[in-house]
């Protein structure tokens, strides 16, 4: 530990501090993205034209606009909305600083919710319709069908896609440094500027991201093994 601190000139703990925020923001954004994805998939598969239009517009916009632009848009958008709301409440002009963490979670969550939408939609379509018909024939109501037939199998089909979305999400957290969130990239940036050894610090950050990717892929394999435990393999 001391050797590492000498190597990084006392800035080694910056990586740890940043890593914690990176993982926290990614996990929270993931927790936002999954329900948004389920909601989006429901909208895309719904019979209501309004729900379909809204869900399609959501995925089309998110896939067409760079996430950096969306992040900044959410950042400014939230700030202005909150400002207007607070000023309206107080009856006078109020300046508030919006928390970059909250912005990051909302922005990343809604961006990757659109990708999760496609994943869940595919997973729903992968469940054989015969099973849903059989469930109806045995007299299950809709919520019971969703709970007992659809969701348990959708997880299995969705896991590879969700794993992919998670890996992309982890990398996208680096963009949060642009809105001053103290995650791994920004902490590295600060340390690299202070010590004036940018290559060493950025390379270390890159290796940490690789480590997260590696661990995530292992976890994904375990999860897929668990989700497929009841499936016969050829």
């Amino acid at each position: 530990m001391d050797a590492a601190e000498t190597f990084y000139r006392g800035y080694g703990w910056f990586f740890w501090e940043g890593l914690k925020i990176t993982i926290l923001v990614a996990v929270c954004a993931g927790a936002v993205a999954v329900p948004m994805g389920l909601l989006g998939a429901w909208g895309k598969l719904s019979r209501s034209p309004l729900a379909r239009t809204v869900a399609n517009a959501y995925t089309v916009v998110v896939r067409g606009v760079p996430e950096l632009v969306l992040i900044i848009l959410v950042y400014y958008g939230l700030t202005i909305l909150m400002q207007m709301f607070a000023s309206w409440l107080a009856g006078s002009e109020i300046l508030i600083d919006i928390d970059p963490f909250l912005t990051g979670v909302i922005a990343l969550g809604s961006i990757y919710g659109a990708f999760a939408t496609e994943v869940f939609r595919g997973a729903y379509l992968a469940v054989p319709t015969g099973q849903i018909e059989a469930a109806k024939a045995t007299g299950m109501n809709r919520s019971l069908i969703v709970r007992r037939v659809l969701l348990p199998q959708m997880w299995r089909f969705a896991l590879p896609g969700l794993g992919n979305v998670w890996l992309v999400l982890i990398k996208a957290t680096a963009l949060m440094s642009v809105i001053q969130l103290d995650e791994l990239m920004r902490k590295t940036d600060i340390a690299a500027r202070a010590v004036r050894e940018p290559f060493k610090f950025y390379l270390t950050a890159a290796l940490i991201y690789l480590g997260i990717t590696f661990v995530s892929m292992l976890a994904q394999q375990r999860a897929e093994g668990w989700a497929n435990r009841g499936v016969r393999r050829s």
Binding site: E67, A174, L175, Y202
Partner: protein, 250 residues
């Protein structure tokens, strides 16, 4: 609050410059990335560990780390070895954000493209390779006439996504002060404070170009697969799987 359309209409020429810069960065790095990826993908499918392992490491690194880290590693990181770059006569290149942005975008897209091409090279039916061998084709002729044409066609749907995402990813170069479309937007926001109007305008431009590219590629795909589609009036025998939308965001 009334929208400030002046922030858009008074600076149309600057936005146009930004779009041109973005397109230029995309075009050069896509071309250079593809030129790099073809030999790398062929190396990647080699059976010799000394050949495929370095390529595997390169692809793993560039696909496993954020593009922003790669840009910083090249642009700011090169500063740590300034004297070395100076003695090699390369410093004039590496001190330029434009060059560093191009280099990191190229290396990044080359890694993703290598992985796409690897998959499609391995998907070429072995019978076709056997048939080409039986005809006495040499290794290079076989690669040129059988493997690569087939692999390119297989790779096209995934490659389309890759190009569109690279186009969007070029917005990151604004962080190292380049004046691409998003760079222009950031400067104009700090000057006019019309953040909403500018961001939405720029978002619409990105969206329009993204989908124009997507449909352009779909058209090429359609043209290249004429012999695979059923003739009009005849029911299709096999259904070609639609390309699955996958996020390849950096």
């Amino acid at each position: 609050m009334t929208p400030d359309f002046g922030a858009i209409t008074n600076h149309l020429d600057r936005y146009l410059d930004g779009v041109l810069m973005t397109m230029e960065l995309t075009a050069i790095s896509v071309a250079a990335g593809l030129a790099l990826a073809v030999p790398l993908a062929l190396m990647r499918v080699s059976r010799k560990p000394a050949v495929w392992m370095p390529v595997y490491g390169y692809v793993y690194f560039f696909r496993g780390t954020p593009l922003l880290v790669q840009i910083f590693l090249i642009y700011y990181g090169s500063g740590q070895f300034r004297s070395w770059f100076e003695s090699a006569g390369l410093w004039t290149l590496f001190r330029e954000p434009y060059f560093c942005a191009l280099l990191s975008l190229t290396l990044n897209t080359a890694a993703y493209t290598t992985e796409i091409l690897r998959g499609s090279i391995q998907a070429v039916p072995f019978g076709e390779i056997e048939a080409a061998r039986a005809l006495g084709m040499s290794r290079w002729l076989l690669i040129r006439r059988i493997v690569l044409p087939k692999a390119f066609r297989f790779a096209l749907p995934a490659y389309t996504n890759e190009v569109v995402f690279l186009f969007q990813a070029t917005s990151l170069v604004s962080i190292i002060t380049l004046m691409d479309l998003f760079g222009v937007a950031r400067v104009l926001i700090s000057r006019t404070f019309a953040s909403f109007e500018i961001l939405i305008f720029v978002g619409v431009i990105y969206c329009a170009i993204s989908y124009a590219m997507l449909y352009g590629f779909r058209w090429i795909e359609h043209r290249w697969s004429g012999h695979l589609r059923a003739m009009p009036g005849i029911a299709a025998k096999g259904v070609v799987a639609a390309p699955v939308a996958q996020p390849i965001v950096r």
